[in-house]
Amino acid sequence: MSQAAIVTQGLTRTFGGLVAVDNVSFQVEAGQFFGFLGPNGAGKSTTIRMLTGLLAPTSGSMQVLGLDFQQNPIEVKQQIGVVPEGLALYDRLTGKEYLNFVGRMYGLDRATAAQRAAELLDFMDLADREKTLIVDYSHGMKKKLALAAAVIHGPKILFLDEPFEGVDAIAAGTLKNMLHSMTSRGATIFLTSHVLEIVERLCSHVAIIYKGRIVAHGSLDELRAGVAAARPDESAGAPAEKLTLEQIFLAVVGQEGAVRKSEDELSWLK
């Protein structure tokens, strides 16, 4: 039986009167490539910020690799890698200096940090810009560097907030290879993305959050079967195994949150 990598129980976060994440409970098994989906403002970033220690939950608990996050923040952070929305880069360092810095922050010795930094820069195709300050990097280069920083200490769980946004197809291919390589060696990956095709291609398990609540959670096959069973009339034309993640997403989130009939509204648009 595999150990759960992430377990949340009744996770809730409010901002004043707004409930951004409402009683969210889910579980991610070790070694899973987990996709966390939801429309804009659904609570994806708030959840991932709580799971990585950037935001304190209002109530509820989180366990990472069996450790309670709030009780053992240092031990948990030691085992996770994060690419946050803002990338958390130091603009006035070079890529090499930044990776060395992050490696040392995770307690690596000087030689190991330097060696891994060099390897990662080479792998991410950033080695020729090692003297360039990060402020002068393009957005895609920054993203690759942030991912390199997230894995330099060999985390057991990787949290990625929109990792492929602004990354070109070649770089995206390289990153996907690296992520697959990590999961095949036992790492767990928790990923949020707006691009459903990417999630469908990469992830084995998915959770869908809508208006702060988890509305679906399971493997892609389980979700397909669930949607097909719940709406036999609409999915009659498409066998359950053929349902795309987009169809599942729309079926779960529903017409309210997804697509409006444009001919009835905004009629002044030409």
């Binding site: 603009d91 810095f101 195709d125 810009r129 291919g173």
Partner: protein
């Protein structure tokens, strides 16, 4: 049929933008720290306004007196002073800080005249510009009371002066924006500017020795100076006084011609911005061929912890190394530490000059107290490093919270870095004092060095608390950015309190036992403060956790 869009009138567009600015301001006050900072800004602005009103009253009296006595030559000096104040003080105070980016409005269907008008009007939304306009009005009122027959002429000439100064100011700043768009040119400019400030400091010695020759040279340049805009404004005033209507008209026309020329140069830049010119820095694409076929290499899943025995733990050493890199890449920070040393040299030179002149009490700065008082002055400037320690973290502050590091380690690394800089400054000051002589007595030196940790540790304790409680983001390479209002107020109180404590202790110890005991007393105080510092440092982890969201919001925005 859909309603056809009609273009908004200029006044409607301006009203919309003013409304936007008001909402931005109002929404910015939602947080309590923003409200407190706003109160501090209001207090500062009230003080500034009182000073401006006081000087304005003075100008009314001066204008009246000068017009009454026909002493028109002084107008030239006053108008040059106005121009100097308007054009140079913003450069010194703003220090090339990023302004409100008006080009952000270009996404809306603004017409160029509106864009132009808004951009010019931003030039007036500045206390210095408003003060200068106010001074022009006061001068005009003073003159008009003395010579009511010239009131209309005064209004015309001074309005032309205001317009010319405003357009010149906008034109210069817009071209500076273009010039400073690149990081490297910005940093070069900061260094050039600092050299200019230092040159001004040294100029007093030049004037002392070569004053008459410089004055003579300047009088030879007077005809040229009168042809420049402030000179033309003064010429218009003088001609009006002397009843030479044609000359007054020509001089005022000259001022307006200058205004048109500045407007033209300004329009060139503004048109480029209006057409979508981007002054941002973007990276050149890599020339190296992309690696596409490389197989994904295995990333180690098990970390290798640092098991070596070192003076500092790996995260502390990492933050320290990062801060040193940020320091030597930040010309503004470097100059902030070099400048106090130059000023110490200048102060000491002045004190020695005065001492040679036999002025009593002048040995305060050159005698036994020379070194401690120089250190106090340097501390006054370097202690600012502690007040807002996280200012340059930017988005990197997220990394500090993501890493498995207690926040007290982050603050400890910051304090070690600050302590290193303070020690370096103290050594440099000692070098200056010894080189310029006379060397202070050993007991004074020992007492100063024994007291330094005490003062530094108090600043670390207060600075750590302030840095977490009232963080403010600083732009890289920009000088004279101020910390939050509360930070400035509290740090000033702490600095004065500390100095009072140190001075009273010194006075009491010398009176009771003699100077020899002072180093020992200070050493004891430093040791006690270190124990207190350890306690306070430990508390920063919890404090940072409580303020984490505010820190991320303030610094990573």
């Amino acid at each position: 049929m859909a309603e056809v869009n009609r273009g908004l009138g200029i006044s409607e567009q301006v009203r919309l933008v003013v409304g936007l600015r008001w909402r931005l301001f109002r929404n910015g006050l939602r947080k309590s720290t923003a409200k407190m900072n706003f109160i501090m800004t209001v207090i500062t602005e009230v003080i500034w306004s009182l000073m401006a009103i006081g000087s304005g009253v003075g100008l009314i009296i001066a204008g009246y007196y000068l017009a009454e006595h026909g002493n028109t030559k002084v107008f030239t000096i006053i108008l040059w002073a106005f121009a100097f104040f308007w054009q140079f003080i913003p450069v010194i105070t703003a220090q090339f800080a990023p302004d409100f980016d008006i080009s952000g409005l270009l996404r809306f269907p603004l017409r160029f005249p509106v864009f132009f008008a808004l951009s010019v009007s931003y030039g007036l939304a500045d206390p210095i510009a408003l003060t200068c306009v106010f001074w022009h009005i006061c001068l005009g009122i003073g003159i008009s009371i003395a010579r009511p027959d010239l009131a209309l002429w005064m209004a015309l000439v001074l309005c032309a002066s205001i317009l010319m100064n405003l357009l010149f100011n906008r034109m210069v700043f817009t071209w500076l924006d273009r010039l400073l768009a690149k990081r490297r040119s910005r940093e070069i400019m900061v260094v050039v500017f600092m050299l200019f400030v230092i040159a001004i400091q040294f100029s007093q010695f030049l004037f002392r020795q070569e004053g008459s020759r410089i004055a003579h040279a300047l009088t030879r340049w007077m005809p040229v100076l009168t042809m420049l805009p402030p000179g033309r404004v003064a010429a218009g005033l003088v001609a009006a006084f002397q009843g030479r209507a044609a000359d007054a008209f020509i001089a005022t026309g000259g001022v307006l011609l200058y205004a048109v020329a500045f407007a033209g140069l300004y329009t060139i830049r503004l048109k480029a911005r209006f057409r979508g010119e981007d002054l941002g820095e973007s990276a050149a694409p890599s020339t190296r061929r992309p690696v596409t076929s490389r197989a994904a290499r295995a990333i180690p899943v098990v970390a290798v912890p640092d098991k070596g025995i070192h003076l500092l733990r790996a995260p502390v050493a990492a933050i320290l190394a990062k801060d040193f890199r940020y320091f030597y890449r930040n010309t503004a920070m470097l100059m902030n530490l070099v400048l106090p040393l130059i000023l110490v040299v200048l102060l000491r030179m002045s004190a020695m000059n005065v001492a040679r002149g036999g002025v009593p009490h002048s040995n305060f700065l050159t005698g036994d107290f020379g070194y401690p008082s120089a250190m106090f002055y340097v501390f006054l400037l370097t202690s600012q490093l502690c007040q807002n320690s996280l200012a340059y973290e930017g988005r990197g502050v997220e990394r500090l919270f993501l890493s498995p590091v207690a926040f007290c380690d982050v603050m400890m690394a910051k304090n070690i870095f600050q302590g290193f800089l303070m020690t370096a400054e103290a050594l440099f000051v000692l070098g200056i004092v010894v080189a310029m002589g006379p060397t202070p007595r050993m007991a004074v030196l020992l007492a100063t060095w024994a007291g330094l940790p005490f003062v530094a540790l108090i600043h670390f304790i207060a600075g750590n608390w302030l840095s977490i409680q009232f963080p403010r983001k600083f732009e890289f390479g920009v000088r004279r950015q101020s910390a939050a209002g509360m930070t400035i107020l509290i740090s000033m109180g702490i600095l004065l309190g500390t100095m009072l404590m140190v001075s009273l202790t010194a006075a009491l110890t010398i009176w009771l036992a003699g100077l020899w005991l002072l180093p020992i007393v200070y050493l004891g105080m430093s040791a006690a403060m270190y124990a207190f510092y350890r306690l306070a440092l430990g508390a920063t982890t919890r404090q940072a956790l409580l303020k984490q969201e505010a820190l991320l919001e303030q610094l990573a925005k």
